[in-house]
């Protein structure tokens, strides 16, 4: 019974099951000093799938997605992203990072650059695009996230919600195949959360492969293809949203849901 609902391919709709794997984690283990943050995580994210990772704080959700683009180094297990194996080879890491965009809880915009320069920096120097072209793309992206008029301001002059939308645009400018979201709305004032979630919904509708760590249950229920529940470095349950919220498999999930809903 236990094996079935933590099987990485659990709860896949036939349509999703037919698609290629985008991210594959097998037996991923990670220690911070003596503390084990990930205790052998198996996970598969399909092409154009939206996967939401839930769990109490300290459960290893953030660590997991930070391992996917090598912001943290895992000690055991294999991670494969779009067919590229994540090893110590710098070229593989560069290749994966150019395919995976990431949005942080604290936005991490570059405070000394204008919004436009924040977005065009990587396309110009990593993708080697012409400045004119990169700026046109950046303006189009700002239009898409709903703040075209802020292009020439500095991040410090924007509200939190606007900053996070710039951060999303900055990641999208690299034309990634996968987007990772690490608690993108946790540092925001309540009235700004929806403007960021709306942008993420639009992104999901456009067919982006997304892994989202969040506490926004409404978003999870509405947008996710599958939900992953983690606790103490283990994947406890993988399920589709309807079943997850109404009839979860594991007792631990039930307890978690009863505490937050």
């Amino acid at each position: 019974m236990t094996a079935s609902f933590t099987d990485p391919n659990a709860a896949l709709s036939p349509e999703l099951a037919a698609r290629d794997d985008m991210i594959n984690c097998r037996g991923v283990k990670k220690w911070f000093g003596d503390f084990q943050a990930l205790k052998g995580v198996d996970l598969t994210v399909k092409d154009r799938e939206v996967m939401v990772v839930l769990g109490p704080s300290g459960s290893g959700k953030s660590t997991l997605i930070r391992c996917i683009n090598r912001l943290e180094v895992h000690q055991e297990g294999d991670i494969t992203v779009d067919g590229i194996e994540l090893t110590n080879d710098l070229r593989n890491i560069d290749k994966i990072r150019s395919e995976v965009g990431m949005v942080f809880q604290q936005f991490n915009l570059f405070p000394h650059l204008t919004v436009l320069d924040n977005i065009t920096l990587a396309p110009i120097w990593v993708r080697k695009k012409a400045r004119v072209e990169a700026e046109a793309t950046a303006r189009a992206l700002l239009e898409r996230v709903g703040i075209p008029e802020q292009a020439d301001k500095f991040p410090g002059q924007l509200s939190g919600g606007q900053q996070q939308r710039v951060a999303i645009a900055r990641s999208l400018a690299m034309e990634p195949k996968i987007m990772l979201f690490d608690e993108p709305t946790s540092a925001l004032d309540p009235e700004m959360i929806s403007e960021v979630l709306d942008v993420m919904k639009g992104l999901a509708d456009s067919g982006m492969t997304m892994v989202v760590v969040t506490h926004e249950m409404g978003f999870a229920r509405e947008v996710a293809d599958r939900l992953v529940f983690m606790e103490e470095g283990n994947v406890v349950e993988i399920n589709e949203p309807g079943a997850f919220f109404t009839n979860p498999n594991s007792d631990r999930t039930k307890l978690f849901l009863s505490q937050i809903l």
Partner: protein, 611 residues
């Protein structure tokens, strides 16, 4: 402001209630202010009394020092050129004025194109004028002041006090009215010109070996150049403001930054020295070499900045570095002869090649990179040729500059080299590669444990003992190297402090975007670290500037030595050290204080983009 008004009117149109207007904070009258701040309690009143007594005593003592009977201020007035430009020949003095004019013009252009326009409120102006007037009156009353000067101090004091208080009384709401920067600049320029032409400051100079000391108006060779200088300062500013809307601002700003970095070197070596170029050789040897390096090097760099070039590019860069180092080794052992500038060019080309992958991009980025290389070649070859050509200037003593100018020159070169060197050291010390980290740490801690004077002595006297036969290091070059190495260690520590303040998230965001380590450092980490380090770096710059006076102990004729030794040993002014020292202190203070003020406004200006 406009936005607030829009909000206001919208509110009113919507039938809402206009928000209350914040009442003005009343400006306290002086008596009230003193009551609240100086005499609020018995203890406070006591402290105020002690403070005023100490301050008065100090002023008394200082005025006594300045007006001591044995002081002969003519010593400074007569030797003013010696103090500032040492024994620079009078018939070539136009070159000094030309350099100063260039610098003043650049100051005005910088102010205009970087929108530097500090303004002062009328209230502040009135208070400053009154304070100046009051101080002048007190000096006039003190018994130490000689009777001739007493009248002048009393009159000037009364005038300033009246003007200051009058302004404060006559102007309505003086704290809300401002004197603009152009007005202040114009007033400054006109005051200097009026002073030079209308005030009988007398004529003091050396002419044909005799001291001239007569009353009357200033010498034309003083007041005419200063009038032109002020015309440049003010004229260029207003001209620049007028043409600014028609010019692309960014390129002009880039040009100005380049001028401040490279311009002084140009002025020192090509204007003040006047090299006699052998144009035949320039045409046949120098220019072809420069063009060769520009074209061949440019082609190599254009190829190296091709995106995704891979390992082959790195191999070529390392090979170039090998050739460059080999050239220097060959020159050292005399294996083959080569022009000095080709050796330098090879080295710079290798550095450009190593940095190429970081700046690789599509066509316009590559063209810009090659353009930077061509500019470096042109400037470098021109300067090296100029430096290696003998000068027509006939100067009695070996150093072609001295006095305050040599202090400025040493300061400029030490800053120019020790800043990049310090930045590299700081990065090395925070690097994850142990070799770099250990080397940088050992160097920085070693240098910081040694007094500057030891370093200077070492480089001025000991280093030449270790040099191979036939290689010679001039005294000044040795001092410069020692001082630069010393300063770089301190700059490195200041920048390291800034590097540590850059948050971890900045590194993660750069990594997640796929920037390489060097791109992350250049575009994200260093700009933020440098901004944080500005106050410390300016402090370091001011310290360096003042400590240039230490070069006097290793034999250079700097500002301090001219004042303290040269003037005091002239037969006419034997033993006049005190006036020289007072004058030197005043000049150093004016420069150091200006730097400190400039840094404060720079911090405010850069604060725009901060969190």
């Amino acid at each position: 402001m406009a936005a607030i008004q829009d909000d206001l009117s919208m509110n009113l149109e919507a039938g809402g209630v206009a928000p209350d207007v914040r009442p003005d904070t009343p400006v306290k009258d002086p008596v009230q202010w003193m009551k609240e701040n100086l005499f609020s309690s018995v203890g406070n009143a006591l402290l105020t009394g002690v403070f005023v007594a100490v301050l008065g005593g100090l002023l008394w003592w200082f005025v006594g020092l300045v007006f001591k009977d044995s002081n002969d201020w003519d010593a400074v007035a007569t030797n003013i050129r010696l103090l500032f430009s040492f024994n620079y020949p009078a018939e070539q003095y136009i070159r000094v004025w030309f350099s100063l004019g260039m610098l003043l013009g650049a100051v005005s252009l910088t102010a205009a194109f970087f929108d530097i326009n500090p303004s002062m409120s009328v209230r502040k102006l009135g208070i400053n004028a009154s304070g100046l007037g009051a101080t002048s009156l007190i000096v006039g009353v003190l018994p130490a002041t000689p009777s001739g000067a007493r009248i002048v101090f009393l009159i000037i004091g009364a005038l300033f006090l009246a003007a200051g208080v009058g302004t404060l009384q006559a102007v309505d709401e003086p704290h809300k009215k401002f004197v603009s920067f152009p007005t202040m600049l114009l007033t400054f320029g006109l005051s200097v010109v009026a002073f030079a032409w209308l005030v009988p400051i007398g004529r003091n100079e050396f002419a044909n070996g005799a001291v001239i000391d007569e009353g009357g108006f200033a010498n034309p060779s003083t007041k005419i150049p200063w009038t032109i200088m002020m015309a440049i300062l003010v004229g260029v500013y207003f001209l620049a403001r007028a043409v600014k809307p028609m010019l692309p601002v960014k390129p002009v700003q880039t040009f100005l930054i380049t001028f401040w970095v490279a311009g002084p070197a140009f002025l020192i070596f090509l204007v003040l020295r006047d090299p006699t170029f052998d144009y035949d050789r320039v045409l046949k040897v120098d220019i072809p070499w420069a063009i060769g390096f520009a074209v061949v090097g440019g082609a190599i760099l254009y190829w190296l900045t091709k995106p995704m070039l891979g390992e082959i590019g790195r191999l070529v860069a390392v090979a170039l570095l090998g050739v460059a180092v080999l050239n220097w080794v060959a020159a050292f052992f005399g294996w083959w002869s080569m022009l000095q500038k080709t050796r330098v060019s090879f080295l710079v080309l290798a550095l450009f090649a190593l940095a190429a992958p970081t700046f690789a991009g599509e066509k316009s980025a590559r063209v810009r990179y090659v353009g930077a290389w061509v500019a470096v070649v042109a400037l470098g070859h021109w300067l090296i040729t100029g430096i290696n050509t003998t000068s027509t200037l006939d100067i009695a003593a070996p150093p072609f500059l001295g006095g305050f100018t040599i202090s400025l020159v040493i300061f400029y070169y030490v800053m120019l080299v020790s800043f990049p060197l310090g930045a590299i050291m700081a990065l090395a010390r925070t690097s994850t590669l142990p070799i770099f980290r250990v080397m940088a740490t050992v160097y920085i801690e070693f240098i910081r444990g040694i007094p500057l004077i030891t370093v200077l002595f070492f480089f001025s006297s000991m280093v030449s003992l270790f040099l191979p036969n036939g290689m010679d290091l001039s005294e000044l070059a040795a001092i410069f190297i020692g001082y630069t190495l010393f300063s770089a260690a301190y700059v490195a520590e200041n920048i390291r402090g800034g590097l540590q303040s850059v948050r971890r998230g900045q590194f993660e965001a750069s990594d997640a975007l796929g920037l390489t380590t060097s791109q992350r450092t250049i575009f994200v980490v260093l700009p933020q670290a440098l901004r944080v380090s500005i106050p410390n770096l300016v402090g370091q710059a001011i310290a360096t500037f003042k400590e240039t006076s230490l070069i006097f102990i290793v034999g250079a004729f700097d500002f301090l030595r001219v004042a303290n030794v040269s003037i005091a040993s002239q037969p006419d002014y034997l033993g006049q050290n005190l006036v020289g020292l007072l004058f030197v202190s005043a000049v150093y203070w004016v420069f150091a204080y200006s730097m400190s003020r400039a840094s404060r406004s720079l911090e405010t200006k850069l604060g725009v983009g901060s969190r």
